[in-house]
Chain length 185, copies 2
Amino acid sequence: MMKKTAVKRTSSRRKVRNLEQSRKEILDVASVEVFHHGFQGVSVDDIVMKTSLTKGAFYHHFPTKLDLGYALVDDVVKPAIIGRWITPLSQYPNPLKGIVEQTKLLLGGMDPSQLKLGCPLNNLVQEMTPVDKEFKKRLQATLALWVAELEVHLKRGKKTGFVRKDVNTRQVALFIVMTIEGMAG
Amino acid sequence: MMKKTAVKRTSSRRKVRNLEQSRKEILDVASVEVFHHGFQGVSVDDIVMKTSLTKGAFYHHFPTKLDLGYALVDDVVKPAIIGRWITPLSQYPNPLKGIVEQTKLLLGGMDPSQLKLGCPLNNLVQEMTPVDKEFKKRLQATLALWVAELEVHLKRGKKTGFVRKDVNTRQVALFIVMTIEGMAG
DNA sequence: AGCTTAACATACTAAGTAGTATATTGTCAA
DNA sequence: TTGACAATATACTACTTAGTATGTTAAGCT
């Protein structure tokens, strides 16, 4: 067998191929750069240069720069929002307390680098909405998902008595998201 | 002699020169474009093309594109904020009512084109803060001015009894601005 | 009038930019 | 083992970009 026939490892990097991993690497680098300089402030060359890959790989994964942007929304921002603002709420019997605690945790003492994960959504919304309709659609969908999931927890709070029955959960959820987004600035 | 051999006036526009007016024209066009596509999404060529002037004029007024950005903050955004969110408050004996009314007016029924004047500040903050320190300074100064001026009116409200004595005017002013910025998205 | 200078205009450049064409190489099925 | 194709690399192109160099003209001063 001799699977790899002693292929000189030297110092040059070994070139293992892995579709998903490469895609993830691109997305990771891109998210950092974009959340740092904005979508239009970052070039494809910038991104690939900070990657272990090249332009060929990039365009193998994303047909266009805009498609990278879409992927950033769907595969990075959206999961980050859910993971940071929604999922943790399940651990609190009282969703209101959960929201407050989570807000303190994510916007409070943390260093600004961590803080930057609540408002990238807003950043992208503001920057890209006029530029591209598809972008707008996906960003608003993400925002809507956030509000909807928040509402789920608020309704749960109604059942368990932590939230008054007469509050409009939709309005409140919207207000909370709005305020969080406002605070991030 | 024979300077230009019948230099035809034709329909071509007469070239009156006016420093301030030219500067204003550039700023006006630039503000529309920038608030539409973002600062990095707009090129100097884009701007001058929508102007009756040319690149030479542009660089006569602004040594660099960033300087145009600074001027946008100082000479367009800042006056707009003051004019729309602060000055009108003087007409209300009760500043709280003034704030509510003004918010309704500016964020309520209006068409989105008018609405776009409250959040450009936020847009620019989000987009430019990581890009350029000077930009950040000026934008935050504008934001601080907004908060400070709001606080003035809140303090006035304390004296006239419309605002409870025990509220922290600074905190409240900050919260109001924050919320307004959040709503604009 | 004529000179000077500020207020522009025109033409250009060097450095980026997204995207393409094509070559190379790992990996896996047969 | 060997094709075959997917995954990646390299080199290039057409175009845009901020900025510059330099030419031209309106307007005030004398």
